[in-house]
Amino acid sequence: MRELALLGILCLCFNILPAHAQRMISGTISDEQGELLIGATVLAKGTSIGTTTDINGQYILNVPIEVNILQFSYLGFLPLAIELGAENVVDAVLKSSALVFDEVIVTGYSTELKREITASITSIKNREIEGLSVQSFDRAIQGKASGVQISSESGAPGGAATIRIRGVGSISAGSEPLIIIDGVQVGRQGQSGQGSANPLNGINPNDIASIEILKDASSTSIYGAQGANGIILVTTKTGTKGDKATFNVAYQEGIVQPMNLYKVMNSQQYADIRQAAFVNSGQSIEAAQKLYGDPNDASLPYYDWKEAIWRDATLRTLDFSFSGGSDKVDYYTSFSYNLQEGQILTNEWERTTGRFNLNADLLDNFSLNLRTSLAFIEQEGQPCDGGFWVNCPFAPSFWSIPSSPAFDENGDYNAYPTNGEGHNFNFNEIQNAQEVTRLGQTLQNISALTLNYQPIPNLTARASMGIDYINNKDKQVRPISIPFFRDAWGGQILNEDRISVNWNTFGTLQYNFDIKEANRFSTLLGFEYKQEDWTNFSATGRGLADPSFQNLNSASTPFAIAGTSSTNRRQGVFSSVKYSFNEKYFANATVRYDGSSRFGRDNRWGLFYAGSLGWRLSAEPFLQNTTWIEELKIRLSYGITGNSEIADFASLPQFGTRGQYLGAPGLAPTKLANNQLGWEEAEQFDIGIDFSFFENRLYGSIDLWNKNNRNLLLATQIPAAAGIEDATFVENVGQVNNKGIDFELSTILYNRGGFNWRIGGTLSFQKNEVVELNGGRDTIFSDGFPQLIVGQPIHFFNLLPFAGVNPANGRATVYDRNGFPTYAPSAEDVQVFKGAIPDFFGGIRTEFSYKGLSLGAFFQFQGGHYVYNNDLEALAEAGGSPNNQLVSQANYWRNPGDLTNVHRPSQGNVVSGIDQITFGLPGTTRFYSDASYIRLKEIKLGYTFPKTSLSFMNVSNLTVFAQGLNMITWTRFDGIDPEVVATRHAYSERFPFAFPLGRQFSFGLNMSF
């Protein structure tokens, strides 16, 4: 009710207010060749009133009557200011340059000119992400913003990605940045549990006009308690007032292929290594051959599981959009369809989106902005995301027994394995993938309504309300046609329903004023409230008469129901003041006071603040004569932001239901209280320069930053003997430092005779270190081994140094703490090895164009980090289990004197009570590997037809293109995909058989009418 009351009050107060004097200016913006510029910016000088041109290069802007200059700008063009006369139509012709300093940048709750910005913000425009066949925009901006490490957690279509802005500052609290789409703070709940799902899938990347990434404290502190991990602001496209309707259609079709899969043994190699394991464990050759056949028998049955499970798949996208406007209203509306099959059997992802964006001037000084989108996503046949799960196809595609064909001579499924041995829980993986239903359906709506009111010139009041609603329904059917499911439960259906409602509202007052022309002030005051509620419900039924039954109604036995819900709320007030003197000196101060329901009553509120300074040296007289400098600015910022991304009820002591006995519920303490639980704070210092040299042929920015996360929140282990089920408690343990340097650089190497060659890129170096642990500790342990050590990065591996296989007897050895090889290490021999957080990362873009023809390539890289390849624990264990092995394992130790890294095969890999793979400890460096890589991420060849050749069919633009994604990877990693594995390791856990990224080829066209 309160929300309704709020809107009511707002509507009321705005409607009764008088109109204010304005005039409407319209026109076109074009380049010197007369090509119309789409998305160019118009700004009424001295105000924050601005717009961009539509698809026809046209704009309409309501300008306060006292404004007499319009400023025009566009990336790659020199800015232009035009004095307004009596004429209401103002056309601008911009001269080409590489200047980016006059773009309008979206910042927290307002917009600014890039020239005046004193914070570290990367802005990515739609042309850098448009048309890429990725499902969420985070993957499209990977490597395109310095200081922002984005890496896929899963190669699944629509799979999740991890975003880290300026290092990893936190462990138990979330390290994900806050993502705000058109003012709506999107949540992370309500996603499908049937495989990896990216919370950003609900937004069609082609609807995005720009993405701003706020990196330093001065830009993020306006978001207070949510600012510590950085902010990503997404702005979707709009139409242009007074513009005729434009219709744009884009179509793309292509294939997805697996890349770099493991090579596994054939039936003979497999029979040979298994026989060796049998014989070395005291079993007979006959027993082995009964199961696996004679290794010398060339006629052993053979089935290529890998070939049957991995596949070339299809991708297809179809987008269309309309935009335009009248003199009071503009609109952008779009629909899209996106199909992406996974490169693994039956995996498929489909999305349909719709969007409607509307800006309407209700009165001269009162306007409304509506942004609304709806997405329906269906993940079909989605296998689990990886892991040692037998009913998930990744591991079984490699380890299924090669002499056990999936089909019999009639084409029916064989029982697996055909030798009757217990392996893979007797799942025939092909049958499993084909017959098990794993369907996730997700409906997401992200909508925002903003009202703007200008009671007097320079004062803008704004009220906004946004909602992010997700409803996910999962269905998993385990049919009786699969023996395991038939015998255990008579088949099973699981339905899950998740709803997440996440809404926020804010109001701001912005007042701009000048003192004696040279001193410009812009002030902002606002409040915000946010509430997140989610519920999950699931029901399981068993006993299905037929494999084709897909609904719970068909289950004869209700088996289980479960339901859960949670909520959290935040509120805050904030204010900022920006000051500039003669467009030469800038200062900015921000403060926010925030409260969160997640913290204990005594520690609920936190104060966050920041300040920044800017000096445009290029505006100084002493540099006016230095012709090669077009723009040069030094920025300095410092501030404190917070992180409240912890569990909703982390501070409270809890008793929860724990099991039943004789039908009555049991109760047990599930968690201990921590009354002292307080905010995690990030203190950040940033010094940066923005520059443009040599007639704007070389431009970019460099930032040096230092970030201290204090009162780091960590779920610390307590002794299990204390007897608490969740043997951890969240405490503020200490301080982590991240520091780094970020480069963003663009050059125009050649631009003559219609031939244009540009190179640009980003490069970031970062260093992460735990600098202090509370209570004088130098180490915090988890599961018996160090988790945090003062002086070490936040992530590292605890491993035994592998010392190779003893040529004398074929036993695996590791180095003990004194550096001597041993068969039987103890926990004290485990050492710390470098972890999975990269030292550097970035991207390099190059683009050639000649007239309508263009060729672009984008390389993305990460380096200096390591991972433990868990896959090999199953695939490189010298035949110690029935798992099929890597071909390289055939080189196992046979006779004294053999030099090899593959130990002597034995059942279970146990020799004299010692596990040869893990030694009963957290593993060895045998499977530890450099995860650095550079990847040709995107390559695109396009041709835009000349306008003249199109006029006869009334087409204003036609582009055809072919593109490839993830084309080539250069790496020393010994697994499939270094990107997804490292992401999992650094930010969650060791994770075997993660869904790797695929290689994609596609072609398509864009057409506008």
Partner: protein
Amino acid sequence: MNSYNKLYFLLLLGLFSCTKALDVADPESLSPEQVFAEVGGFESILFSAYNRVHNFEWMGQNGIIAPDVLADNLDFNNRTFNYESEYVNAVRAHMGRWELYVGINDLNLIFSKIDDLTDVTAAEEDLRQQIKGEAFFLRALYYHDLAKVYGYEPGKEVNDFNLTVPIRTTPTEEVSDALVTNPRATNTELYELIESDLNQAINLLSDNVIAPLRVGKATVHALMARVQLYKSNFAEAARQADQALTQTTAELTTVENFEASWEMTPHPESLFEAEIRATDWSTVDGANRSICTMTNNTSSSSQYILVGSPELLAVLDREPNDIRHSIWTVEEDIPNGTRKCNKWRGEQGDFRENIPIIRYAEVLLIAAEGYVRSGDDTNAQTRINELRMARGLVPTALTGTALIDLIMQERRIELALEGHRWFDLKRLGKDIPKTNASNVPNLSYTDFRILSDIPQSELSLNELLTQNPGY
């Protein structure tokens, strides 16, 4: 109008800055105060402690199977990674029981808070005494299993190493309690606590009515008998066993119903039986976390990896009339000389079945062993012959060492796959024989692998703990 405008905004700010908006409650949790307000709350905590007995890591699977795999009762029929390292007594492949402390904390909460309840009715008072009695029994059961795994029995120390697990008798209510660390107690200290708990339980519990799914007085005597046996306090073991046998309503099965009794719920011989319901398991627990999935092929999704070893069956085969042959069946596809065990068949469906923790035959065997080892062959014969006749065998007239051997042989056969073999050897200080098929040498009693290692995670969090020798 401008002033109105500002007023409205101020009003809005006011609306949202009331702190109450930030007070939220967890819909799935209770505060400790709510739980401790009624006797019913304590009973719920007790139920949680009962429920943990059938945890897969304890008697739900590992506690039944590991003691036979670590010794010589079982061989492999199939391999699914499970129990492979236990089979060859790999270093650190032992029984981990540290999580029993979670149940102990449940019980400590009861002890520390239940007497604070005031204004209780007479019925509630009875319930309070019963809850306390059951809680003392359970804490003794939990601690005795910790003692069996992590330390030597009193009098059976190797190199005088007498440390066992730390004793915690006060609950963890807040973080500061959790961080209070205790050193390892000596085995005699721990056994004193166990006996004291059992004596309190005997005093508090009235009768047998609620057995076997909850415990009565007879059950406490039975556990006391077992504890005395482990202490090599044989006469007292026999005396306690006899008390249990007299008081219990459980009945010895006969030749007629022995085989069928393994399909019955509860088992007619149970003095204490852990109850499992469908809701206790997630969908994948059956195939992974049941007993029968490891030892039987009732379902095609069973792992069915372990079968009776030729060494065990050779003992059984000494007397062909033994009715216990009925639960060991020869199967085609399993290694020669091995047989499938049909004690555990998941008769409640989805691999589920109740788990007898203490049953009549065990108590009879304790009585027989207690008598014979304390020199009373006559009474020992009576007890063992009661069992032998119920199993279709002729009474024995053996005495002395021969009678001891026979009783130990009966014990091995009768209690196979019920979690006793390893501990029966260990408590007597005997070497652990290994099966021929395991291809590993016998484990000497002095080998460090007789004791489980203390979890590395505990050592790193509690500086007062010391690791067991050899690890």
